[in-house]
Amino acid sequence: MIGSIIRIFFAEWRKLRRPTLLLGTLGAVSFFSVLVSSVLFLMIDSPQGNGDRGVQITREMLSLPSGATQSFSSIGGLLGIVALCVFAAQTAQEYSLGTLRNLLVRQPGRIRILVGKLASMKVFAMVMTLVSAVISIGVSYALAGGKNVSTELWFNGDGRLEIAKTLLNVFLSILGFGIVGMVLGIILRSPISSISLGVLWLLIIENIVGALKSSTLNWLPGNQLSTIATGGSQNVSYSHALSLSAIYVSVALVIATVLFTKRDVSN
């Protein structure tokens, strides 16, 4: 059982490590990391704000032990969308390319396939998280001096704890988005449809609904997952976001597992 899951993990990793996917994804991650970190520091004195939705993040706030990870935590939502696209494409392509039948002939345990693939994609999400952390913290550190932001507390005991906490939160957030992508891939069986629907929901529908009725931000799944990355927000507490996301992701996984294991593979 474990042996076959390990084999599935490495088989999936062979697909995930291909240069176009790995380098392309890490390129996007690096771009977002540099962009958000640069905006945070270079627009520190801007009246339009330097944070998400015009929020002002001051020098004093950035000088706290959490200052090093301020930009990294706010990238969570963007990284989540990248993860959603990768997980959805990797899952749905097995249907659209017809390769699922090859996988199932070589490994008929469908739940094992699902677990092995998910484990492999988790590692991919972990790599994304680490790369983004290194770049965003590095850029923040490089720009802090020029903008008179003290970095004294960033790497002391409290600072390191903040870095560890944010790494975990961003990883959980990315993983949640990724699992949603995987579930969409299983349900829709088409990379384009699953990515389109996922991105449309997260970037457009949730924003419109949230803007029209702010109370919905307590329930919208994308907002809960983004809130995990930031460790909580003014509207949604961290524990609420974490527990509600766990419920959403669990329900989605159950639906996906039932579909994946029971549905005939006829393409």
Binding site: G3, S4, R7, I8, F10, A11, R14, K15, R18, T20, L21, Q93, L97, G98, T99, R101, N102, L103, L104, V105, R106, Q107, P108, G109, D264, V265, S266
Partner: protein, 302 residues
Amino acid sequence: MSKLAISVDDLSKKYGTGLAVSHAKFEVPIGTICGFVGPNGAGKTTTIRMLLGLISPTGGSGQILGEPITSPDKYLPSVGAMIEGPAFYPALSGSENLRVLATLGGFPQERVDQLLKQVGLADRGGSKYKTYSLGMKQRLGIAAALLPDPKLLVLDEPTNGLDPEGIQEIRQLLRSLADNGTTVFVSSHLLSELELISEYLVMLRKGEVVFAGPIQELFDQQQPFMIVRTEHEQDLEKIMSIAEAAGHKAHLRDGTAHIEGPAEWAGVLNKLAFESGILITQLSPQVPNLEETFFELTGDQK
């Protein structure tokens, strides 16, 4: 151990209100090459998918290498398959695609290079799959099916897109695999190819098995026939009427009349045609072949 590689009984698959496969019953002995034929939509691929555990039967049962088809994990490690053509990841090389499957199945990675060589792709193994020609894709699909060194090899249209030389190579490959004890269950529309290599045959029509058994048994059941061509094509209808009036079955195909009857009756037919003012330009007695038999049994006559 069972002497049957495949055994199905009353196997059915229902989609909506129609049966894609209806109460199929057939057996394939170990170590034989068995052709699996039927017109498009006859239920061949659905049957193969049920045998491989990809779709669940609506009814009936089956065994592969002595194990029930409800437990594919017990027999699939000894089964190689290519279903509905090759399917691989376009952005990976041929070699990397095989390595994905070798890793998944726990087969030695060295096998990948051996198989690429065996199917004639040794020099293109490093190229991306999306750059392959149809024939190369087909060869890679066969290599993937051979990964487990299978006891049962299930191939769906393995010669699609291959040139005559490639078809001959595949024929020789299947023959040598069968000689070494591998059972080959192969579906193809190239009936003349199947006739050359198959010892057994399963024929489907509209989801039902119309014949299953040794191929020679099938030919023994068939009547000899003759192919008739006339100076004017419109005279073929008259020729058919003459034959039918004499108690011989007849039908039109590809601008000729196919008339059942022994070779000796050809002279009588020629005489009857001459008396009716019809000039026969070709009168060729034939022994039954798979193509003729296929059309006869599946009712797919042109």
